[in-house]
Structures are given as structure tokens and as C-alpha cells.
Symmetry: C2
Subunit: 236 residues, 2 copies
């Protein structure tokens, strides 16, 4: 299988390109608009045909490349069923299977960071990896204080949904700020400082006390991402 | 196998932790001094015992954690036979095999970025991956204008040494500045813009024309790294 993890240093975003073989079809998860040229070059060099571009949720810290990839490569844009991004052409439901040339992902509705966040487990029968968006990060979790975030739902998505995947399932988040590239479900169960040894009530308290500033790009990124990455021309 | 790629955003350095199994022995390649706490935590959490810490070469852009890891965990420090870092306790020769609990690396003398740079091929009989230090980067190559760097030797190390590994061998460099995390020998043969379709003479011309500023930390990092990361106390 072809598997590429790509990093946008500006927003600390991880993007994932998956394909079963050279010459075959590919999908991409959480692409960043500014990295479009890199994706186009890589798709060509790896000799794959990008047929699906997935956003795990409506990002607030970077603008998505979904629309650009659709316009340039004709791929299908994908988000979860509860997104308000009407531009997206495929809305997946919980437990739905996405199959791209043998690369199979199971959609998991995992709200908490936003109310429309999905995770995607690779290889539904024997999960090898899970793309967790911003719900579960490595030794951290995504903030729950905007876009209808909810720390109770975040806990529930992580503990009662993602943590039921096998311990050896690799965890690939949409962001990392500390130099991690990958973890596993077993590790996060035991060592995620917000969750391991904590109760749901303690988690809610931790999340409600974070007091983070809004993402720099939020006022641009959220409306742009609801339009699949189409940014408004500057007025004036 | 346990395989972890770690990133130091400050110096854009990739560090690699490898072990055959939980409970077993581990080795680390190109650790960064500022990330010591992260390594110590990860080694404990993954339940491995770090027995070897390897620097591919004398880095000029960050301070190594080799000495700190030796002091804290008792691991053996490793560099190539031509390093001037006398603090290192194991100097490997070209083609020497390092075996850590079944994780086997073949040392490859690959000068060019410096005159003492080594690469390490994982699994000598059927190479799966190669750790290329700064000699071969993803879609780039390490500068050749200091520390007895030599563009002719860099070309020779890349084209006549690394490119003889199987095309599917994954390439894991010590640095990346553009958001790549991994490549393959086949990809770099075909798409490395400094090498693909070029002659050695053209490569030498490209490298000699780069005109890069010295790394910010060079005057601190090189002497510190010759002492396995021991930095001098500020005078005054």
C-alpha cells in the first residue's frame, strides 16, 4: 500500500494520502489549500489517480484544499453527514465504508471537537490505523470550545468509540504541535494526560479550563471551509 | 517492529526510534538535545531499553542528545569511524552491521555533506528503509559547503551507493523543510530535482551555486556535537 503522511508547518496539520498501488486510485484526508502544488506533484509522481478528498471536519485553523483538488483532478469531496458544507458532494454516515481501489475506510462519527467530526478507521475488519481528525491527538485532544464542541461528547467519542479499536491500531491525527508523528490506541489509553486515569467529569473540567485564544485564521478558515476552501476575494 | 519518527520543529530534524518489540532493546538515530524529555518519556512508555544512540554525522544545526542519553540511560554512543567526536564510544566502519535485539542496520559510508557522514540501511539482506542523514533529503540533498563537504562525493554517495538499494527502499532523512516525512529510493532517482536527469558536473555546479547562509547554531552546535552534545557554560 502507498501511505504518505504530509505536514503543513504553518498550521501544524497532518494530511494523509493513501492508495493500494501505483497506477491505482487514491484518497487524501485533510488536505491544506497552501499545499495544493505539493499534492498535485506527488499524485503525479506516485502515479495514482486521486478520486476522493476527505475532510474529517470543518477546520478552523487552515483552509481546506478540497475544492481545489476537485477542480483540478475531478475527485469527489467527502465529509460527514452533519457538516454544513453544502459544497461537499458525498456525505458519509456513521459506519459507512469508503472503498477506494481496495483501500477501505470505516467512517466513525466522533463529535466533541466539533458536532460534525468524523474519524476514519483503515481496514474495517482488522483496523490497522485510525485517522482521528482533531478529536484525539497524540497525548492530547482537540479543543471543545467552539463550533458546537462539547467535552462530554469528546470524551464519549474517544473513550467509548476510538478506544474500542484494538490497542495496536495506529493513531494518525490531523494535527501535532510537539513533534509526534504517530501513536497507537493502546498508548493513548495509557498515556494521554487528559484521559488516562481521569473520569469524564475531570476531563470536562480540564477542557473547560483550557482558555485558548481563537485560531488566528478562524474567521477566514471556517467560512472558506464551508465553501470547500473557496476564499472570498479581498473587498475594496 | 516499533518504529517512531519524531520531529524537532526548531531545527526541522527527524529523529528515529527503532525496537523489535515492547520489553526489548531500542536504538535512536539523530536525537536532538532539546527533545531529551520527550525521548525519555517515550522510551519508558513504549517499554523499551535504549542501548544505542547514533548520530549520522556531526550536525551543524542542532545540538545532539547523544551525551545526555548516555548519561541518563547508559546507552552506547555511535558514530562513523571518521568522526572527530572522541566522546563517542563506538565508531562503526563501512558495511559494519549494528544489531539491536534483531533490529539490524548496515552502516554505509556516504560522505559529501560532511566527510564523516554515514547512512544506515535497515535490514541488510532485504533493505526496507534507509536513514540517510543529510546526504540525501526528500527531493533535495544536504549542502556541501562546510565541514569538508564535497559535491562530487555527495553525488557519488547518492548515485553510486544509496541508489543501488532497491527502488522500494523507504528514505528517511535527518531533515525536512517542506512537509515530507518519507520517500523511496525509486522516487528520489526519478524526481529529486538536483539529481534526476543531471550529470555529476551539473550537480556540482548546482551545489556550488547554492550560496546558503551558515546555520544559525553552527558555532555552538559543531563544537558541542564533537563533545556529544556537551555545551559550554556561558562565560562571564
Amino acid at each position: 500500500m502507498i501511505f504518505r503522511q504530509l505536514f503543513d508547518a504553518e498550521s501544524s496539520t497532518y494530511t494523509y494520502l493513501l492508495a493500494s498501488r501505483p497506477g491505482g486510485e487514491a484518497l487524501i484526508i485533510d488536505p491544506v489549500k497552501e499545499k495544493l502544488r505539493q499534492y498535485l506533484a506527488l499524485v503525479e509522481q506516485l502515479d495514482v489517480r486521486l478520486v476522493k478528498a476527505i475532510d474529517t471536519h470543518t477546520h478552523a485553523d487552515h483552509v481546506t484544499a478540497l475544492g481545489d483538488l476537485r477542480d483540478r483532478l475531478g475527485c469527489v469531496t467527502v465529509m460527514g453527514e452533519f457538516t454544513k458544507a453544502d459544497c461537499v458532494s458525498l456525505h458519509v454516515r456513521d459506519e459507512e465504508i469508503i472503498d477506494v481501489d481496495g483501500v477501505r475506510l470505516r467512517a466513525l462519527y466522533t463529535p466533541g471537537h466539533t458536532d460534525e467530526s468524523f474519524s476514519y478507521a483503515l481496514d474495517p475488519r482488522a483496523p490497522k490505523a485510525v485517522f482521528t481528525g482533531d478529536v484525539l491527538l497524540i497525548r492530547g485532544t482537540g479543543r471543545t470550545d467552539f463550533q458546537n464542541g462539547d467535552p462530554r461528547k469528546s470524551w464519549d467519542s474517544i473513550v467509548n468509540r476510538l478506544f474500542r479499536l484494538p490497542d495496536e491500531t495506529l493513531v494518525y491525527p490531523a494535527h501535532d504541535y510537539k513533534g509526534w508523528t504517530v501513536s497507537s490506541i493502546g498508548e493513548e489509553k495509557r498515556f494521554n494526560p487528559r484521559i488516562a486515569g481521569k473520569t469524564q467529569a475531570e476531563y470536562v473540567q480540564i477542557m473547560n479550563a483550557l482558555d485558548l485564544p481563537d485560531p488566528k485564521l478562524m474567521d477566514i478558515a471556517v467560512p472558506a471551509n464551508l465553501a470547500c476552501g473557496e476564499t472570498m476575494p479581498a473587498s475594496g
